[in-house]
């Protein structure tokens, strides 16, 4: 008997067809990948299988139970980690884990071995409120909460978004262990290395199954989507020998905890600077100090020639910023958002109108000028947010994980935009967890435990640490971490 059977399932929300005649089966003990771009209908599929939604047409069974009629039986034996798995922000790490363990009828002790690899990284923060953790740390805790019990079928909706490569690898190792004990796993992911670890994958696009097969089959068949050709970038052509960011001995302490611990580096004008590090290594905190959102505890820094401690409002005039969370106004239209931020930076109406058309033309967004931003797919939102952040032609733009959760094709388009901006002389300061993106940077630094442990061009780093690619460099350095993070 198959663990999951889906027969001709369709689902519509009003006029929008989320799922259109979807059929597939997943065998017992199989690791099955459900992949596809944002808005393809993956979340609807998970919700139907978890009995949270009723299918419009067709039927589906999980472990032999019908998703409509045998709701309680299914709920008793499945585990589900939604895409936006949310923890209780006001409970501590330990309390969250214990609550979810009890909820699923088990204890932390019983499930400890399964989650040890990841939980040991956050265990030292067990008494900290979850709300005070960084984004990636929360995701790790969410993984632990989802895996603490051992259901017979496990549904994971993009579980590793925003998680660093080391932890992602550990997470998938855990999944393989679970599979060995007979658990069926259905997961979705935007990372190609994770797709390759599935036994079979289904490619879902616009509510339809485009193909089912082994990862290699699917990735080759749809290579233009999953494996777009690399981008050519003539390195260093625009880089001038002039520092736009200079940081010396920068420290940010929260109580006795040094989130950023004495870092020094410089970024040259026109450079694409990759700022890498594991979750909680202190990247976002460092970026907040550079952008004038936070005051440093000690140390000095200059951005665009201004002191980060005293002249932060001056700095803000010369930089653009795109945060981890999508932060344009979802209830304004594309044009209205652009107009607002243009206006904030002191541009006049005529300039804004002219540049708006230019930007939308470049993004091929002209038709969506008057759409509400909230109604756009994630990838589009990210491209728009980037365009807005450089709309006023700043000298530096800060990008905090700009491509989290975005599919490969869109990521490639995103990087074309970054190169375009760099070509116009804008310095790009970017953090990412995609190591293929790290290769696109002119220079990168890798942060471990609040300190910068390596800095240089990608080829320099690979040479120095004798590793084949950036992924291995990163894992090599991050494994040396003593404190796991925050």
């Amino acid at each position: 008997m198959n663990a999951i059977e889906v027969n001709h399932v369709s689902k519509s929300y009003g006029k929008v067809k989320a799922l259109d005649d979807v059929s597939f089966t997943v065998g017992k003990g199989e690791v099955f990948g459900l992949i596809g771009p944002d808005g393809a209908g993956k979340t609807s599929m998970y919700r139907i299988l978890c009995t949270l939604l009723k299918p419009g047409q067709g039927n589906a069974t999980v472990d032999g139970f019908d998703v409509v009629r045998q709701m309680t039986d299914i709920r008793r034996r499945v585990g589900y980690m939604p895409g936006k798995f949310s923890l209780y922000q006001d409970l501590t790490v330990q309390e969250n884990l214990e609550f979810f363990a009890t909820l699923f009828g088990t204890t932390v002790e019983a499930g400890y071995d399964t989650i040890k690899a990841i939980y040991s990284q956050i265990e030292r923060f067990r008494d900290r409120k979850t709300g005070a953790l960084s984004g990636g740390m929360k995701q790790k805790l969410a993984l632990c909460c989802a895996l603490v019990h051992q259901p017979s079928v496990l549904f994971l909706d993009e579980p590793t978004t925003g998680v660093d490569p080391v932890s992602r690898k550990e997470f998938w190792d855990m999944l393989i262990t679970l599979k060995e004990s007979g658990i069926t796993i259905m997961a979705s992911t935007p990372y190609l290395d994770e797709v390759r670890r599935c036994e079979r994958v289904a490619f879902l696009d616009q509510g339809k199954i485009r193909g089912i097969g082994t990862p290699d089959e699917i990735l080759t068949r749809f290579a233009d989507i999953f494996n777009p050709p690399g981008i050519d970038h003539d390195q260093g052509s625009e880089v001038k020998d002039e520092n736009v960011i200079e940081v010396e001995h920068l420290v940010k302490a929260f109580g006795s905890f040094h989130a950023v611990d004495d870092i020094s580096f410089a970024v040259k004008r026109g450079e694409i600077f990759g700022f890498l590090g594991a979750n909680g290594a202190g990247k976002t905190t460092a970026m907040h100090m550079l952008t004038g959102l936070n005051q440093p505890t000690s140390g000095t820094g200059r951005v665009a020639g201004y002191d980060i401690r005293t002249e932060h409002e001056q700095i803000k005039k010369h930089i653009g910023y795109m945060s981890q969370r999508f932060s344009l106004y979802e209830d304004l239209t594309v044009a209205e958002n652009i107009r607002l931020f243009g206006g904030i930076y002191g541009m006049n109406d005529a300039d804004i109108a002219r540049k708006t058309d230019e930007v939308l033309e470049r993004l091929r967004f002209a038709d969506h000028k008057n759409d509400l931003v909230g109604s756009l797919p994630l990838g589009w939102k990210q491209k728009l947010a980037f365009s807005v952040s450089i709309f006023h032609e700043p000298s530096i733009v800060f990008l905090d994980e700009p491509t989290g959760g975005v599919d490969p094709a869109t990521r490639r388009q995103f990087w074309e935009l970054i190169y375009d901006a760099a070509g116009r002389g804008i310095t790009v300061f970017v953090t990412t967890h995609y190591m293929d993106e790290a290769e696109y940077c002119d220079r990168i630094s890798i942060m471990v435990d609040g300190k910068i442990s390596a800095i240089g061009t990608p080829s320099q780093l690979k040479e120095r640490f004798h590793q084949p690619d950036m992924e291995h460099v990163f894992i090599y350095l991050a494994r040396q971490a003593t404190r796991s993070s925050d």
């Binding site: 939604l53 309680t72 709920r75 949310s86 309390e95 009890t102 909820l103 009828g105």
Partner: protein, 352 residues
Amino acid sequence: MKQFISFIIKESKHIVRDKRTMLILFGMPIVLMLIFGFAITTDVRNVRTVVVTSSLDHLTQRAVERLAASEYFTITASVATPQDAERLIRGQKADLAIVFSPDFASKRQGMQFIVDGADPNMAQQWTNYATAVIANADASLVNSKMLYNPQMRSAYNFVPAIMGMLLMLVCAMMTSISIVREKEKGTMEVLLVSPVKPLMIIVAKAIPYLVLAFAILTTILLMGRYVLGVPLQGSIVWIYVVSTIYILLALSLGLLISNIATSQLMALLLSAMVLLVPIVMLSGMLFPVESMPPVLQWISAIVPPRYYIQAMRKLMIMGVGIGEVLREVVILTAMTVLLLAVSLLKFKTRLE
């Protein structure tokens, strides 16, 4: 059972960790009780009085002296013409003017009160008091007995009302918000997919608020008794029994709101608009129901706190037996059963 308990613990932690909300929840009844108990009164006191007279004959003088001696009136000025007095009143320098006719003593002509009528109740009370003081009415003719509330303190009237309002607020508003928050943050999905029965989630959510409601109820009763000196005439047991029915009613209302609302903001506004405004306005808490036009009286008939406040006023202040509030108790129970049934039936075990 273990799941149930850990659920309750988790929910209690949410409540206790939000220090500011806790402070308001317990600060509110205390401050309200103090305000109603000590600050707000409709007593006739410090009425700024102007005397208008051209000649001070002995009778006029005696009347003025009596006014000045009374605790109600303060003579602030003496002017010659009614026009002057009116000017003082308009300028908010006086509330009441007493015009004596020139030959008041000769009994042929009388006197006139010129009153600032902006506040009708107070205006009437001022004239009543002034007439009584000037006429030096033979008090011995009437023996007045103010039942239940001899000092006519407004606290007696308001303690039950505060209970009605706060219990509704805590149970309905906070429960609904806490359920909607889980929906909004996405944790509800995980809870629903877990092996725990949906009904258990709801009950476990309600219990901490139930406890909180009893804590607040007890605080109010203790404050009322020992700080404000409001007597608890009736049986404590019945007060708690009726309150329990009311709390359950409020909890089911909260559940109902959480079924309708999709965001915290909506739950907040719904509870504020649908619950708070009618409670304050139509329950007879501040404004007596019998003074409203019939249409509003009918509407107020479906406002649950109306019956609770009525029942509490009778039980606590008047000290009548449970038999006298049977009508209110029956109505409250019926409403509770109905709301609970509707909200449980409407509770969604799926996302749609």
